[in-house]
């Protein structure tokens, strides 16, 4: 009985070590699990049949290639596991997912449970208007109707700006992004405030992409990063070093262009969102600062 307990305890200790040391786990099992998203814009999405692609997915594949070299493995089996906004943090925490490559904002609340690699994409909340509207800044929205999507942080952000700047606009909430864009397209709203990537995607998919423009101040900045387990400095360093290598060689800019300015599968449409100054800044000065530190500036 005592012996059995000892074996159990030993086994538990081994599992514990394996979980805290991702590199060892990868080496021992010859496989790694990548957390991906079903539809997070061009960052991470599915083509169906268990195939996952996107800017972050491709970065992760390169990172894992480097990890494989570092560990001297002849073969590394990458398993893809779709995650959601609700389960991504717990799945990384409990060891089901080793590296999450989706669209997770690096913030201080999450940093209590997980670690983030250096920021690879910076999302900016912007304003989309009709190209012929003459609107170029938020101040010009005074008295106008502004659309955004129900259930997003942009609603709060928009109201905050309204109060802080003393602008008075009529807010109208679409039930989803497509609906909010339709409000703008049909003239029921004069502007649509949302993440730049979503605005660009909707404009690209519209009937007349030239008829819309993304203008004005950046209302908010959010660093989006690849997520790994907390308290595993060796694996985080391996991931960070690999990403920094991509940044230094300029390869990351090429990857970005491939996913955000060139036609992408499955429909071969373009997102049409060139890298922003904030994103380029994150590549030039690699860092893993949370969103709270961006807000201070």
């Amino acid at each position: 009985m005592k012996k059995a307990l000892l074996v159990l305890a030993l086994g538990a200790a081994l599992v514990g070590v394996a979980q805290a040391d991702t590199l060892k786990k990868i080496k021992d099992t010859g496989s790694v699990t990548m957390g991906v998203r079903e539809s997070s814009g061009a960052l991470s999405y599915t083509l169906g049949d268990g195939k996952y692609v996107g800017y972050h997915v491709e970065i992760c594949q390169k990172v894992l290639g480097d990890v494989q070299k570092q560990l001297g493995l002849s073969k590394l089996d990458i398993k893809y596991l779709p995650v959601t906004s609700q389960n991504r943090v717990p799945l990384v925490q409990n060891g089901t997912v080793d590296i999450e490559c989706g669209s997770t904002t690096n913030n201080m609340t999450r940093a209590k449970d997980v670690a983030f690699a250096v920021t690879t994409y910076v999302e900016e909340v912007r304003i989309a208007v009709k190209a012929d509207s003459g609107i170029t800044s938020i101040a010009q929205l005074n008295g106008k109707t502004v659309a955004t999507t129900t259930g997003t942080t942009s609603v709060q952000l928009l109201r905050k700006h309204e109060r802080a700047n003393g602008v008075d606009f009529k807010e109208v909430l679409g039930k989803d992004h497509a609906d909010s864009f339709l409000l703008l397209e049909s003239g029921r709203a004069d502007a649509f405030v949302m993440d730049g990537q979503i605005l660009a995607g909707n404009i690209a998919k519209s009937r007349n992409p030239a008829g819309f423009k993304i203008v004005g101040e950046v209302l908010s900045v959010e660093p989006i990063a690849i997520m790994v387990r907390k308290d595993d400095p060796a694996f985080k360093k391996a991931v960070d070093d690999s990403i920094k290598g991509l940044m230094k060689s300029g390869e990351i800019a090429k990857l970005y262009d491939k996913w955000f300015t060139q036609p992408i599968p499955p429909t071969n449409t373009k997102v049409g969102l060139p890298a922003t100054a904030a994103t380029k800044d994150a590549w030039a000065n690699p860092n893993d600062k949370p969103v709270e530190e961006y807000a201070k500036k």
Binding site: A147, T150, G151, T152, R159, V172, L173, K175
Partner: protein, 244 residues
Amino acid sequence: MASWDWQLYCTDMVTEEVAPKCFGAPGYETYLDAMIHGWGWTMFVSVVGLLVALVAGSLIGVLRTVPNRKLAMFGESWTELFRNIPLIVQVFIWYHVVPRLFPVLDLPPTILVVIAIGLFTSARVAEQVKAGILTLPKGQRYAGQALGLTLPQTYRHVLLPMAFRIVIPPLTSESMNIVKNSAVAFAVSVPELAQFALQASEQSSFVQIFLPVTLLYFVSAYAINRVAKGIEWYVRVPGILGAK
């Protein structure tokens, strides 16, 4: 389960600060303020929609029972048209299609939703009013006309007073349905209770937002039920339809 945070309702939706007053503090918009505001829109859409439904529905219901074939046909077509298309599709047609075809009807979204819900429900009201009139023995109509009353007079003084009393119970259900159906207004960006629930719950807690919202819907529909019961009691005719 997380503990229930009463202070949430007194918290500003934008700054997440606690307001000095839970309701109507100047310069603040607490969760409670926003919920009451959303409920106000729900009730506006429901009550005005109900008025449209009752007026149009009664008229159409009566037309369907008159001897004039053309008028009766018009009433029948109206009922079938609005009864056989899903409500959400009708709302979209009024919101997206009608203003494009007829620029005169480019009205505020709230009005378009009221029209859509009102006319959808009018078909159902018409069906009930017609049923109420047909329930009455044919002799009543003939008796009225034998007395020398014109057709409108027969309806006004003989048929409708009893027909409406008969259909109060199904009309009550219809009136309660309109409160619940008003949630489709969310799909065309009317800032009513369902929209509030989706936005506020995303910002705070699903349980703490959806439970009171559910309760508000229940209370609103039940209040209509009680008012209708009161009317039914007030207009009862002793000895008829089970009234004492």
